[in-house]
């Protein structure tokens, strides 16, 4: 097996046994990145990576390394990285060399991980196809004419294309789970508040959550061990101890109750995707789980709810991009108004402007109650639905995306694009943890199975996913030419 097909767990062994060094490993991935046409990276940090790899090797030699010491990774370009360009996929921040590290970046550094570069993404994490990046479309490694999903499309493509053993992602409405599903990898969005948002460029503050994108559930547990934790710099971070997420991976799932929300299997779901998802559920039954139908009656409203709440928050979050202190400033502004108007109009892409305007409108005098407040109330109802469901079941399962990856450039209408987020949005609105794990193929493209757990049930989700991966080999499959 080529080195780049190895999981983190396997690479960690190879590094500690001296089979290969971090410098060798890192160089191998850098070579693969340079040879790749997937456009998965915005910035490749060769020099930076080699320095970190050398330092990691020194630690391993001294026997003071940790389990992740020397493992390379792709970092979504939404996390601030001190001294490295952090663009969030936007022209607005094309010249932004972050003067500080995000808490997640800091934690990954502390664990001696090696950053290969900054992964491509939809501009400010707004998008489901990675077609909204200032740095161009990312291609799906399974079929380069297809989208990789978004907004963490570069991260997903990097892992699926074996350009990095793992990647970081962020998920506001499905941005970890959906590209993981479409690229056939494992992605985890933790409970809101589990991973610090400090230094993660905000899209919608009450929905954003970072998590790992890996080949396997075991790897996701290893990475989450590092990413998770209370951060005093983030008021919304939970003061809760971090479990060892690998501890219960091997627990039996006999007696597990799986809830299938009937609303997740309705009109609009591709038949082949549905049958792959159901086959995966059957697999769980064979492993001793029982299945129960549940109802999430308000989940149909997740789309309008999300597409009000998120734009409202983003319209305010992105106001700081004004061309005054950092970022893009237009040429020769003739007055302050001109400076604002041109810097922002030239700096932001179409989808970002659209969401800013929706948000500005939904918050404006006379419309606040009908849109923003109404959406916050619906959000409450959506979250209550889950509360009820989790009284009956341990985990909810369903599809991640109604279809497999579609053709690049094929969806032009924003609303059609939004409708594809139907199965992922409600977990964000409720703040619940969710996963996507490889569950087969349809039209020769990967299909993901979504797991949604109760609050703080990351260990349980990883356990369920790991057990599935012990019985199946969907997660080990890679695009043929690799």
């Amino acid at each position: 097996m080529s080195i780049h097909h190895k999981t983190i767990a396997q690479l960690s062994q190879g590094l500690s046994s001296g089979e290969f060094s971090s410098v060798e490993l890192t160089q191998h991935y850098l070579d693969r990145i340079n040879a790749s046409d997937l456009n998965a990276f915005i910035t490749v940090t060769d020099e930076f990576a080699m320095k970190q790899a050398q330092a990691a090797d020194d630690k391993i030699a001294k026997g003071v390394g940790g389990i992740l010491t020397g493992i390379p990774y792709a970092h979504k370009d939404i996390f601030c990285t001190n001294g490295v360009k952090t663009s969030a996929g936007s022209k607005m921040l094309d010249n932004f060399i972050s003067p500080y590290d995000a808490t997640v970046s800091h934690k990954l550094n502390q664990a001696d991980l090696v950053m290969l570069g900054k992964a491509n993404m939809d501009e400010f994490a707004m998008g489901s196809s990675n077609e909204n990046s200032y740095y161009g479309d990312v291609k799906n490694p399974w079929n380069v004419d297809k989208i990789p999903g978004g907004s963490s499309g570069g991260s997903a493509a990097a892992v699926a294309g074996r350009l990095a053993p793992f990647a970081t992602g962020t998920d506001t409405g499905g941005s970890i789970r959906q590209p993981s599903s479409l690229c056939g990898i494992t992605g985890l969005k933790p409970t809101y508040g589990r991973v610090s948002r400090y230094g993660m460029i905000a899209y919608a503050s009450s929905l954003d959550q970072a998590g790992p994108m890996t080949q396997t559930a075991e790897d996701a547990a290893l990475v989450l061990n590092v990413m998770a934790g209370f951060d005093e710099k983030d008021s919304t971070s939970a003061e809760r101890d971090v479990e060892d997420y690998t501890a219960s991976l091997n627990d039996s799932i006999k007696g597990l109750t799986i809830g299938l929300p009937k609303e997740f299997f309705s009109e609009g779901l591709d038949d082949e995707v549905a049958s792959q998802v159901m086959a995966a559920v059957k697999e769980f039954e064979a492993m001793g789980a029982t299945v129960k139908e549940v109802s999430l009656p308000n989940s149909a409203y997740a789309i309008p709810t999300y597409y009000i709440v998120a734009p409202c928050e983003c319209s305010s979050n992105l106001s700081r991009l004004d061309g005054v202190r950092y970022g893009y400033r237009c040429e020769d502004p003739k007055d302050l108004e001109d400076l604002y108007l041109r810097s922002r109009s030239e700096g932001f892409g179409e989808e970002v402007k659209r969401r800013i305007m929706i948000g500005a409108y939904a918050l404006s005098a006379g419309y606040y109650d009908a849109y923003y407040l109404k959406a916050q109330k619906t959000r409450h109802l959506i979250s209550e639905d889950f509360k009820k469901a989790f009284k009956e079941v341990d985990v909810i399962m369903g599809p991640v995306s109604p279809t497999t990856a579609f053709d690049l450039g094929s969806v032009k209408d924003p609303v059609s694009m939004y409708l594809a987020d139907i199965y992922t949005l409600s977990a964000n609105l409720a703040g619940l943890p969710g996963m996507s794990i490889p569950a087969g193929f349809a039209q020769k493209l990967p299909v993901g199975l979504q797991l949604i757990g109760n609050y703080w049930s990351e260990s349980k989700l990883l356990n369920i996913a790991h057990q599935f991966q012990q019985q199946t080999d969907w997660h080990t499959q890679a695009p043929q030419e690799l």
């Binding site: 010249n95 939970a238 597409y307 009000i308 007055d335 400076l339 109009s345 409108y361 609105l429």
Partner: protein, 95 residues
Amino acid sequence: MSLSEEQVGQIAYLARLSLSNEALKSNTKDLNSILSLAEQLAQIDTDNITPMAHPLHMTQRLREDKVGEEDQSESFQAIAPKIGKKHYLVPTVIE
């Protein structure tokens, strides 16, 4: 209810965005279709439902009143578009 191009222009200005005539047209169409999606919310009975601004029922943690930041203006200003002697500069504002 549907937004006119004039209204979209006002919203854009509120967000300090300027739209070309063409962009104004296409955005008016897109914004209206997104808002008609949002109109679905009106069907839901939300009487006596409290709005949910945060997913978790946590309250604000308070920080001790300690100074813990050094002067980093040099590195912060190295990435600024225009700096005078330690000041950020913008075209003259008339009050």
